[in-house]
């Protein structure tokens, strides 16, 4: 790629980038949210036309999108084999397709049920489908846009084992990621993007996480805020909650979150986190009770609570709406926003500006449609909305998914600051590091039950890890 340039209204997304991918190399592309990585990857793939520059590729190019391009209502095998269906006469040879997928999954260490309906799969598993789809095509250039954002650590290891294998066979690979440790562990070269330009390029062997991070943010990383002691007033309580969502169930969960406390739910994805979150949000029926300050209707009425949903595109944002409009979604009836029957757009705009400012959401203006924002900036907006106005209770599902290291530190700081001001925060995350970094108390979830609880000095990475794996 030479001299690639792409201009969107109000932003220069990619600004004169040169990038060569060599056969057999694993090239990391890192950068802040909105730096232009996805745009560059999409240009390389051919999905976006550049305004300038040339792209040349020897052979085929494959792209793993972070916002997957899957067909939800079709089965896994079909998604993977789309366009290359094995045939038996004029009909699709389903058995062959199925076994082909099973074998592919097996070979790459990505467990999958070829017959599952994609839309019923949790996001992490959908990620595997998206990946397998590209692997099946064996492109000579493979572009991976944040492939690990929704994967568990064990899966990340197997994924990269596959990627390394592919590279060994001569595939040129580009990985966009925000997890810098992956960069160090698996890649050969790394390019750092800032404001649409490549600002640094290293041989991975010659660099470090710190150096890359500094190049990314153009300075030092922000420090994560300090936790301050708070009084332990009970605030949120779940008692004997059982519920079932599409994919997971929980039974007999009981726990509390105190005001001024962050409780982290540690667990491998698919162990009931979705059902728990949906039950708390009142999206699915449940038995037992869920109360906020003794009131079981408060959650349903969305008074004074903040929620970061799991799927930002479908559950969190109205993609065609502006930042201002999105900033008050779920808060439209709060006294400050609602004036009689009317929406106080001035207040909404002030809130939006505050979110953008405090969470460093990078956008051309407050009035752009959020679909124009980069994925990480959309996520920051979502977290900012959940935290603005210091809600009494916050439910944060993977709040830093797809956010760059600098911004992740910022988001974590904001969570801790909210805690310090007395919010009760329930953090659901598949990244143990994140939980260990900011939670006051850790609950381990395994197969729909809480199998362990650790507070303060009891928190022990090893024990938690074992419980997460179902060992005792």
């Amino acid at each position: 790629m030479h001299g690639i340039r792409k201009v969107y209204p109000g932003v220069i997304a990619v600004d004169g980038v040169d990038l060569d991918l060599l056969p057999g190399e694993i090239h990391a592309l890192v950068g802040e949210n909105g730096a232009g990585k996805s745009t560059l990857a999409n240009i390389a793939f051919g999905a976006v036309k550049p305004d300038g520059g040339t792209v040349e590729a020897a052979g085929t190019v494959g792209l793993v999108h972070q916002h997957f391009e899957l067909v939800g209502r079709l089965r896994v095998w079909h998604n993977i084999m789309l366009g290359r269906e094995p045939r038996k006469g004029t009909v699709v040879d389903v058995d062959r397709a199925r076994s082909r997928v099973a074998e592919l999954a097996e070979r790459n260490g990505l467990a999958i049920d070829p017959d599952a309906l994609v839309e019923e799969l949790p996001i992490g598993v959908q990620q595997r489908v998206e990946l397998l789809r590209e692997l099946e095509r064996e492109p000579s250039v493979l572009l991976l846009d944040e492939p690990t954002a929704a994967l568990a650590p064990a899966e990340i290891a197997t994924l990269f084992a596959t990627v390394v294998q592919l590279a060994k066979r001569g595939t040129a690979i580009l990985v966009v990621t925000h997890k810098l440790q992956e960069v160090i562990d698996y890649t050969t070269r790394v390019s750092v993007m800032r404001h649409g330009k490549i600002v640094a390029r290293y041989e991975t062997a010659d660099t470090s996480v710190d150096e890359i991070a500094r190049a990314m943010v153009g300075g030092e990383l922000p420090q994560v805020a300090q936790r301050e002691p708070t009084g332990a007033a009970p605030c949120f309580a779940a008692r004997d909650v059982s519920a079932a969502s599409d994919t997971t169930t929980v039974s007999g969960l009981s726990f509390e979150v105190h005001a001024g406390e962050i409780v982290g739910i540690a667990g491998v994805e698919g162990n009931g986190q979705t059902a728990l979150a949906d039950a708390i949000a009142g999206m699915i029926p449940y038995t037992g009770s869920i109360e906020l300050d003794g009131d079981s209707t408060a959650l349903r009425h969305r008074n004074n609570i903040g929620i970061v949903p799991q799927d930002r595109h479908h559950e969190g944002l109205v993609l065609n709406w502006s930042i201002v409009e999105n900033a008050i979604l779920g808060r439209q009836n709060l006294p400050g926003i609602r004036k009689g029957a009317l929406t106080d757009w001035r207040a909404a705009r002030a809130d939006a500006a505050a979110i953008v400012e405090r969470f460093d959401v990078r956008a051309a203006s407050l009035d752009v449609a959020v679909k124009m924002l980069s994925g990480g900036n959309q996520q920051k907006l979502l977290v900012g909305r959940a935290l603005i106005g210091d809600p009494r209770f916050v439910l944060a599902y993977q709040p830093t998914r797809g956010i760059d290291v600098g911004a992740a530190a910022l988001v974590q700081s904001r969570l801790i600051e909210a805690r310090n001001r007395g919010s009760a925060i329930l953090l659901i995350s598949f990244e143990l590091d994140e939980i260990l970094a900011i939670a006051d108390r850790v609950l381990v979830m395994y197969r729909g039950k809480i199998t362990g609880s650790f507070t303060g000095s009891e928190i022990d990475r090893g024990k938690i890890g074992r419980l997460m794996a179902g060992l005792s």
Partner: protein
């Protein structure tokens, strides 16, 4: 030259294409396109009376189009405006034949009754969707046919005018007629069919726009339409929103029916509408579901409808050829977004 090209690729090109196609249709009909178009313009804009007729047609399309916009904005595909219009007209006509009292009061009551009739009809679909998750596309469509049967039965039987030999209600008492359009300076519309219903329609559009953009209800309604899952998760009661949105949508269309009955026909019969409720779908979409643009779109269609009559009368274009021309223009209008994007990205 470049400017001309750019204009051609843009909306002007779309319009030009529409006119060329219409001209071809006229030539096939054996009509000189110059005569045809001049009749179209004369019949729609060529003077006080034609303008009044254009606005009468505009009004007839505007109410259902606004109702449809409201439902579509909430993500509900209401194709039942035709039935809702009919029910609104039926309610107004059934009562209007007998209601006595001060004119402003009875007229207002009849308009409200029309809203009630249409609202019930929309509300049934809303309830079915909210309660049973029944597709509103099916139910609103079915309710169109049911409305026609019901109205047909009532005007041939229980509501039949003792005077009329046909299937219609007794004429409305004159105190139940919508007042004529006010005189502007020396311009009086007293002898035309133009009533204040056009003003009511425009006011409805303005109110709708205000509701959409300024009220919390409008915000929730749009959220429900744009991103239902996100809306549900933000605490919006979706079944309730469905019921309210379809009822309101029907009420606006029903108001249109009542406006035709109290303003134009002064009685109810089942040939009240030549399919306004269906054409209004196109009007609403061409107006981007934005109430003010819908007004503009309705005016455009009103010009076609009113001008179409004159094309028949003066240029001898048969009414079916006029329908073809309307269809062609709708097709081309539908493509205007394509032309618009082409224009903005066309290299100069």
């Amino acid at each position: 030259m470049k400017v001309v090209l750019r204009l051609l690729a843009g909306p002007a090109g779309a319009l030009l294409l529409a006119f060329v196609l219409a001209a071809v249709a006229m030539l096939i009909a054996g009509v000189n396109p110059v005569d045809g178009f001049s009749a179209l313009i004369r019949g729609s804009l060529g003077g006080r009376r034609p303008i009044a007729e254009t606005l009468v047609q505009t009004t007839a399309l505007l109410f259902p189009a606004l109702g449809i916009s409201l439902a579509f904005r909430a993500g509900l595909f209401n194709i039942g405006a035709e039935g809702q219009l009919l029910m609104g007209g039926l309610f107004a006509g059934a009562v209007g034949a007998h209601l006595a009292g001060p004119s402003w009061l009875t007229v207002a009551a009849l308009l409200l009754l029309g809203m009630l009739g249409g609202g019930i009809w929309g509300g049934i679909a809303g309830w079915l969707r909210a309660r049973f998750n029944a597709s509103e596309i099916i139910s609103t469509l079915m309710l169109n046919f049911i409305a026609l049967s019901l109205a047909g039965y009532l005007v041939a039987g229980p509501l039949k005018s003792p005077l009329a030999s046909g299937a219609e209600t007794a004429p409305l008492l004159p105190n139940n007629w919508l007042p004529a359009f006010p005189t502007i300076g020396s311009l009086s519309f007293g002898d035309t069919r133009l009533t204040i219903s056009i003003l009511i329609a425009i006011a409805t559009a303005i109110v709708l726009r205000f509701v959409f953009t300024r009220t919390v209800f409008g915000y929730e309604l749009r959220a429900a339409g744009e991103a239902p899952e996100a809306a549900r998760r933000s605490g919006i009661n979706m079944p309730r929103m469905t019921l309210i949105a379809l009822s309101l949508s029907g009420a606006v269309a029903g108001l249109g029916g009542a406006a035709i009955v109290t303003g134009v026909l002064h009685r109810f019969n089942t040939s009240l509408s030549p399919g306004y409720g269906y054409t209004a779908i196109a009007v609403a979409l061409v107006g981007d579901l934005n109430p003010l643009w819908v007004c503009v779109a309705a005016l455009g269609f009103g010009i076609l409808e009113a001008g179409g009559l004159m094309m028949q009368a003066d240029a001898g274009v048969p009414k079916d050829a006029i329908r073809v021309i309307e269809g062609l223009i709708i097709l081309v209008l539908a493509a205007r977004r394509y032309f618009a994007t082409r224009a903005s990205s066309a290299p100069i």
